[in-house]
Symmetry: C2
Subunit: 422 residues, 2 copies
Amino acid sequence: MPLTLDDVRELDRQDPLATFRSRFTLPQGTIYLDGNSLGAQPSAAVAAVDGLMSQWRDSLIQGWNQGWFDAPERLGDRLAPLLGAGPGEVLVTDTITHNIFKLLGYITEGQRGTEGQRGTEGQSRARPVILSEGGNFPTDGYIAQGFCRFGGFEHRVVPEGEALDAYLDERVAAVVLSHVHYRTGRLRDMAAITRQVHASGGEVVWDLAHSAGALQVNLAACGVRYAVGCTYKYLNGGPGAPAFLYVRRDCQDRAWQPLSGWLGHASPFAFEVDYAPAPGISRFRTGTHSPLAFAALEASLALWQEVDLAQLRRKSQRLIELFRESLGDCLAEHSIADITPDEAQRGSQVGLVEREHGYAIVQALIERGVIGDYREPGLMRFGFAPLYLSHEDVWQAAQHLREVLSEGEYLAPCFQQRGAVT
Amino acid sequence: MPLTLDDVRELDRQDPLATFRSRFTLPQGTIYLDGNSLGAQPSAAVAAVDGLMSQWRDSLIQGWNQGWFDAPERLGDRLAPLLGAGPGEVLVTDTITHNIFKLLGYITEGQRGTEGQRGTEGQSRARPVILSEGGNFPTDGYIAQGFCRFGGFEHRVVPEGEALDAYLDERVAAVVLSHVHYRTGRLRDMAAITRQVHASGGEVVWDLAHSAGALQVNLAACGVRYAVGCTYKYLNGGPGAPAFLYVRRDCQDRAWQPLSGWLGHASPFAFEVDYAPAPGISRFRTGTHSPLAFAALEASLALWQEVDLAQLRRKSQRLIELFRESLGDCLAEHSIADITPDEAQRGSQVGLVEREHGYAIVQALIERGVIGDYREPGLMRFGFAPLYLSHEDVWQAAQHLREVLSEGEYLAPCFQQRGAVT
């Protein structure tokens, strides 16, 4: 029997994470199911950004001695517990795209070193192949292609969702894989795949964009050596907030990374002529970062220190089940496919596919204040950020979707025209 | 005869740029001669950043359709007139370090194309050498080294200040040069050097970090094809504000750039498997930028639209002369070398060298509220940002320096210990 409004309000009263909602500011009348695209604003971020602006005004250049300079390492250390990583293993810097490039360069140079090769042109590589997954978030594949084209590697694509078995061999240097797939929401078995790739002599770079802050990531326990991720989705760092990378401590001093800038130098203020990589995770820094962008993220990460990740995962899954239960038969009635994987194999999102009307349905929902997003082709994507979504929100969102479908609202001409982004 | 306080106040009354001072907020009691390291805060930046925070809170993901997405191109177009560039030729993105890497990759792939070569490993390049200048700002050399190491190029260094004649030959693919040198303040002859490098069949990437916003840069008139620069110095975009790159319009569609991310794709929201570079300057985008960091810069660039760059240059040079005149004989008396070039060959800074006590002298000045900076070895660096410095500021700064020297203030133990940054 479907839950009533009273039922879901009771779930909210029992929710151990319910108090986090008051730490975010959300617009009135909005049910926000797009926290997997851009997270909501932690109220504390406003004061943090104001504070940074005052610091720029009053301290001017001295601000760099007052916490700006080491923000990439400091925020990395705050992020580490959310990823199952240790201090000195995570660096907040640049974007996922840049960070994949750095790690692929670092890994492949390290492989040359250990295999007794030299980095000069004209010598073939023992491991000339970079693998990535088809249907993965495009930037991961695009930057792998750029890396291969520039570095003389061969880029191969594993069809979406397939096992790696047929593609892993002694020629594969590295694999770029998403932990949770951005379209399907499918959660990969990080431990098993990491073992498999390492057994083949290759390395895997995990993209945590859709798992960091959505579930408990256990990098150390899964034997992961390299990962990247972003902070503007579930981690609520703000639009375009800096990304992060993870390099396990025992893998940190093996090689250069190709984007060797002054802030990754062992002695950046000695102004030496030759680059010498900093020891540890700092060598993955490149240029001068934006303390302003870091301030908003730091406020959010302070809040995250209080979150019990096991509770987070339970609530995420309960919200997803509640959403699907509350939709009842309406998906089948409108020939909408629910591609959401089973609980053990999913992240924190629901994917519904309707090729003809998917875009219009999402627009009609937005008109009602229910914000999801649309991804070509045909995918309506709904993210469930457990820190600021209530059970009632999710129940109400399902009622809205039922009404949009049953009343044919999405057929109105105003919902047909494609916008640029969202 | 040295100018009196009344004299310099009269200069301020006649200064056509004097009103810009009220558009910046500077801390009380500070004379800021470090605008060449981090520019002061335009008052309008505070409202702009507040507005962006409100937009994140209220518009959430829709913010990307409300001006965030095309900020790199929009701000590039606002910057263009300050550089002597046209619309669609400047992109605000990433850092100088990243942008040099992109341009070197783009240039060298373009050369392979035109010279009938393929980008596969094992084939030697006709132009395997990247040149940069010794003593240039370190990150320019470091990233050139990383580029060469990863891409199989040879990195060669032209000794600081030397002409390129002996180093340019048919093996040189590209030269990375600063327009104004960060230590000496020396201004290179952009037109002549650009002609010389092009005549050799190579390309030059100009670094405008110390000239953009300090003087009138004439990229088109000088025949420049590629340039990079930052916006957090004279352009007052805020700490770590995004950098820019310039690619002349007729040179824009020649090749891939190696940091090929989703926002540089021809159709970023089609989520295609294969990378296809966007036409025009947008292909130099990589990952997702921070609209927060762009908001502060956009406020500053609005102010810059009102600036007469010829007036700016005249005031910059007048301030430098005033500073040096007001110091009188005190430099010689304390064996301090003034390495500032003559007017035609300098940017907007004064460099004084005192190897033993330079650091302590800068600290003693900071204690008096006169902020300059120190760069190893021995360099006291004073930047003159004409938009917010008055003639009286500069005259007072010179009096402070005279007193610090004549009274031996810098010998106090508190000024001897080296800090981390500044």
